[in-house]
């Protein structure tokens, strides 16, 4: 038997709301399947499962908000005959889950996601446990039920009475009422405020805990741009590459040379990651920012990275991400070139240990081989965690990025 817990979908996540279960007891699931949709302060996340087996029992019903680590469902692991089998260790279940958020953002993050209490109800409604259960079974909205129990408490009888009463606005008889789209548990306005709080908590934690060092270097992008233009001519329009794909791949390969940039700082020690899951900072139109991961960038071709990136951007805009994308990033890449700035020295997203920034590509005078010419030049920067690495290694890393971008055909 294995436990499926509310995952930590980022260092700033304390709790999540189960919006929807995509599986039911008895369903077979395999590692990587999306089994539930969870709402966090930042986004609606499709949560993947890390065990292969059969859903035994769903513990947290839809609509319920629970803290990270809460048991959501129980899974009979493959080959297990209801007998005692070793429980999946958390490490096996979610290999890249960052350490749980520290208890620093006190109630703020939690309070922010609660819908504002109705001004007319200063006290918590008195609802008996049984009435609450029956209301769930009969799908009665308790807000519409009048309590007649002691001190106006809502009892089972009140709920049953409300269930029998005709609905306030009867639907036209000929057409069955359409199934209402699932309302997000968090209203958009709350989501925005909540995301701001979440970012505030994560960034404050980063600046409080992580001793950042910053390095920057100018990179001649003429070879990379030249190669990209030629390459794109060969590709069908739908498969053309953006130069940010080259940057991502260069970062991933450079990380292989300088592994101190890639992984997590957990419990006072650096835990390097073999795979490179590059978190790509993507701004959200309504405001806010999220940095979901493209998995295994070092093993992907440029074309595959492009596909992943387009997919990710599309889903960020739609607000639907997968749990592993949120939790797994091992290094973050941010690019503010589109916004017109030359350099960015970012704040590391804990518990990661490095953030690579790329600025705008500008035509600049560039001296090379005793001659001055105009070249497309880009500033690459590194924000490093001084606990995990030193400036010397950081410099080697940025130099490696520069070198790799000089041989774009090998990326």
């Amino acid at each position: 038997m294995a436990d499926f817990l509310m995952p930590s979908l980022g260092a700033d996540m304390e709790a999540g709301t189960v919006l929807q279960w995509l599986v039911k007891p008895g369903d077979a699931v395999k590692r990587g399947d999306i089994v539930a949709v969870v709402d966090t302060e930042k986004a609606t996340i499709e949560v993947e499962i890390f065990q292969t087996g059969v859903i035994q029992r769903i513990v947290v019903p839809e609509g319920e908000k629970v803290p990270v680590g809460t048991l959501l469902a129980v899974i009979a692991v493959q080959g297990e005959v209801a007998a005692a089998a070793p429980e999946a260790r958390p490490a096996e279940r979610t290999p890249m889950v960052p350490a749980p958020a520290p208890p620093i953002p006190p109630a703020a993050a939690r309070v922010a996601v609660k819908p504002a209490p109705a001004p007319a109800a200063p006290h918590r409604a008195r609802i008996s446990p049984l009435a609450m259960r029956v209301a769930m079974e009969l799908k009665v909205d308790l807000a519409t039920v009048k309590g007649t129990g002691p001190d106006g408490a809502i009892t089972k009888a009140d709920v049953e009475r409300a269930a029998k009463a005709p609905p306030p606005a009867p639907a036209p008889l000929e057409a069955p009422a359409p199934v209402a789209p699932r309302k997000p548990a968090v209203a958009p306005i709350d989501r925005r405020a909540a995301m701001r709080k979440a970012i505030a908590a994560a960034m404050a934690r980063s600046k409080r805990e992580i001793p950042h060092y910053y390095l920057g270097t100018h990179i001649d992008m003429s070879k990379a741009i030249g190669w990209l233009n030629a390459e794109n001519l060969k590709r069908p329009v739908t498969e053309r590459l953006l130069y940010s794909v080259l940057l991502l791949k260069a970062v991933a390969l450079a990380v292989h040379e300088i592994p101190e940039m890639n992984g997590f700082w957990i419990d006072g020690a650096f835990k390097p990651s073999e795979a490179v899951h590059a978190g790509v900072a993507i701004s959200i139109r309504q405001g806010g920012l999220i940095a979901p991961a493209i998995h295994d960038v070092e093993r992907k071709s440029l074309g595959e990275i492009m596909v992943s990136l387009s997919d990710l951007v599309k889903r960020v805009r739609a607000g639907v991400l997968r749990s592993s994308e949120i939790a797994d990033a091992t290094i973050t890449v941010t690019s503010l070139g589109d916004q017109g700035v030359e350099s960015v020295f970012g704040v590391i997203y804990p518990p990661q240990v490095a953030l690579v920034g790329f600025g705008k590509i500008l035509e600049r005078p560039w001296a090379s081989g005793g001659l001055v010419g105009a070249r497309p030049v880009m500033m690459a920067s590194l924000s490093g965690d001084h606990r995990a690495s030193d400036g010397h290694r950081g410099a080697l890393f940025l130099t490696a990025v520069e070198r790799l971008l000089q041989e774009p055909e090998k990326l």
Binding site: L130, G149, P150, K156, A157
Partner: protein, 333 residues
């Protein structure tokens, strides 16, 4: 017992005497010991006539020293006898608390299971007879706190008749609490009534609207209250706990699951009482079945008064049970 088995009219006192007599006849290791159990026939006349029938070796008067004769009973049980020790009231049993708690309850464990203590201690408990504050308290809930002993509260003729033999068969010490107001209770019992099991609570009256959970001396009042409530359309279920340690939580939770409302009636004081324990178990095991908060009806937290009207006011009564249930049900009956 066959349905047409002969019924006899009998009192609780007589049922208890029959139980002791049967035990003395069936097992030569059984003997009765306590203050005034012999020549006087027992403070509550339970053992009247037994000295004449069984002789002074088996019906033994003891000095006024609870610690000494309870200790002697423990020693006898350790050495293979089956003693029945009578303590006049639960108030006096406090003098034997060290023997009961530190010896009887622990020796089977301390000896690694090598020594059993098949001892039965009977004592009177409860108020209602104008015996004032030093003879009237209900401390059985205290004893129910002690691991290593069993605590029984026979509230019916059948249990008075049947619990003793089963308790004597038990390898561990068993305390039997006989409520003082029950001795004169008279009713019909099967002539062939005998040993009963001692681990389960019993539903004495089935109902659907509210569970009234009680034991011992308040069972009668609770059944009365249930009848009065039935007249006003509230169908109460009455659960007789019978055993306070171990508690039959299952029967209590089953009942609350049926009725969704619970009232606990306990003659002990409310604070730190067995009623608190039962309420906690209902919350732990049947929270999502509860449609109203659990209510408790206990004795006023005062030393039991002597004056009749004050004593009546201090104790749970059928009328207080009716008023409490009616109040909590509101228009939900």
């Amino acid at each position: 017992m066959s349905p047409d088995a002969q019924k006899v009219k009998i009192t609780y006192r007589e049922a208890m005497r029959q139980a002791i007599r049967e035990a003395l006849i069936r097992d030569q290791r059984v003997f009765l010991m306590g203050e005034d159990v012999g020549a006087y026939g027992g403070c509550y006349a339970v053992s009247k006539g037994l000295l004449e029938e069984f002789g002074p070796d088996r019906i033994r008067d003891t000095p006024l020293s609870e610690s000494a004769f309870v200790g002697a009973g423990i020693g006898a049980a350790m050495n293979g006898m089956r003693p029945i020790v009578e303590i006049m009231t639960v108030n006096f049993s406090l003098l034997a608390l060290d023997q009961i708690v530190n010896n009887a309850a622990t020796i089977p464990h301390m000896s690694g299971g090598q020594i059993n203590i098949p001892l039965v201690i009977r004592m009177t408990t409860g108020a209602g007879r104008q015996l004032a504050a030093q003879h009237s308290h209900s401390l059985e809930g205290w004893y129910a706190h002690i691991a290593g002993i069993k605590v029984l509260a026979p509230a019916t003729l059948e249990d008075a008749r049947g619990m003793l033999w089963t308790a004597l068969e038990d390898p561990d010490p068993v305390l039997i609490f006989e409520h003082g107001t029950l001795y004169n209770m008279e009713g019909e019992m099967a002539a062939d009534a005998g040993a009963v099991e001692i681990s389960k609570a019993a539903v004495r009256r089935a109902g659907t609207d509210v569970s009234l959970i009680t034991y011992g001396g308040t069972l009668g009042k609770t059944l009365q209250a249930a009848e009065q409530l039935a007249a006003s359309g509230i169908d109460a279920e009455v659960v007789d706990l019978r055993s306070l340690r171990p508690l039959d939580t299952g029967t209590v939770l089953d009942s609350v699951t049926r009725t969704h409302r619970a009232v606990i009636i306990d003659e002990g004081w409310r604070s730190g009482s067995i009623s608190a324990e039962i309420s906690a178990r209902i919350m732990e095991g049947a929270f999502y079945e509860l449609d109203l908060p659990v209510e408790r009806i206990c004795s006023a937290e005062v030393p039991m008064p002597y004056a009749r009207h004050l004593e009546e006011a201090a104790l749970p009564q059928a009328s207080t049970i009716v008023a409490t249930v009616t109040g909590m049900m509101g228009d939900h009956g």
